[in-house]
């Protein structure tokens, strides 16, 4: 056991993201991250399995947060209202983390392997949301489609937030995306098939 370091995890994350942006993800060894953070490699590996996990450890927490929010929605809430509550909870975390979220996204955008990983994480989040909806008694098709719709809203709203340098808060952006989706769905596909 190493000695206790105040906010070691946060310092490692900040240092890693800065270096991934400055030098590229591939070109940053763990030794450089710990050097900038003023911590040992031993401390790094107590918090993260590898340098990729610095980018994706939050995804699992996000998934849990979202599933919990769906479960906690009032029993009378419609499925889409329940997933909107989940995205609202996620948006709170993103906004709190502010600049770190922007740094992380620019690292991911610059690397094909990381973009693939991000797609897998989003597919996993969709699965978790669908599971949480099924547990509320939502039927199979409704659960899958509502979960996928939430991911669509998250992807598009989040991208707009990042591209606008996070000047506009994320929550109303997500609400606007839900509105656009509702309008688009209402207009189209009537009587298709």
């Amino acid at each position: 056991m190493g000695r206790w370091e105040p906010n070691a995890r946060g310092r490692l994350e900040q240092a890693a993201l800065e270096l991934y942006v400055e030098r590229g993800y591939e070109q940053t060894p763990v030794a450089e991250i710990t050097k900038r953070a003023g911590l040992t490699e031993r401390t790094f590996f107590r918090h993260f399995a590898d340098k990729r996990e610095v980018l994706f450890a939050g995804s699992s927490m996000l998934e849990e947060l979202c599933a919990d929010a769906v479960a906690a929605a009032p029993a009378t809430a419609a499925p889409m209202t329940a997933v909107a509550a989940a995205l609202d909870a996620a948006a709170g975390v993103f906004e709190e983390r502010g600049e770190l979220v922007g740094l992380r996204q620019s690292v991911i955008d610059a690397n094909a392997e990381l973009r693939e990983r991000e797609l897998i994480k989003l597919a996993s989040l969709s699965g978790a949301l669908a599971d949480a909806l099924r547990e509320r008694g939502v039927d199979e098709l409704g659960a899958c489609l509502t979960a996928e719709a939430a991911i669509a809203v998250l992807k598009v709203g989040f991208r707009r937030w990042i591209d606008g340098d996070r000047e506009r808060p994320l929550r109303p952006l997500l609400a606007e995306c839900f509105d656009v989706l509702r309008t688009a769905s209402a207009q189209g596909a009537v009587g298709a098939g």
Copy 2:
């Protein structure tokens, strides 16, 4: 140039998919595929860059087909109606190919790397649909969300079709998914944010 072989591409694809299912994708060398198809490796590599491309060559054609269908939709068609027409065109191809689509999906489901590749192809299809909608004059948010909604419908409807052993035709399944999405969108998220 080798001699002309009738339907060489189709024979190679059929042989490859059968072998990928029987022995596993990783465990099937190109030599086995050409042996079963009664063709040479030279012929294989005239049609496919590698054994993975047997699974994904169709994705690019599908993307083109869908983008063309969006472009060809009547000028008065709503964005969601235009992407529904695209999925309808795609469904026609899937239904024509029948069993091959089922074989392909079982190969992909069994291999993590192929599942990742499939997610990338779906993200690419979403981008192509959004581009086609922008060219119709649809605004940025509407184009992105309608394209993502179409991918949601395609994923969920296609999965249900495959899981039901393709007994129910795909087109009405997709239409049902659009209906469910419309109902879910209408019910939820009103006044969120």
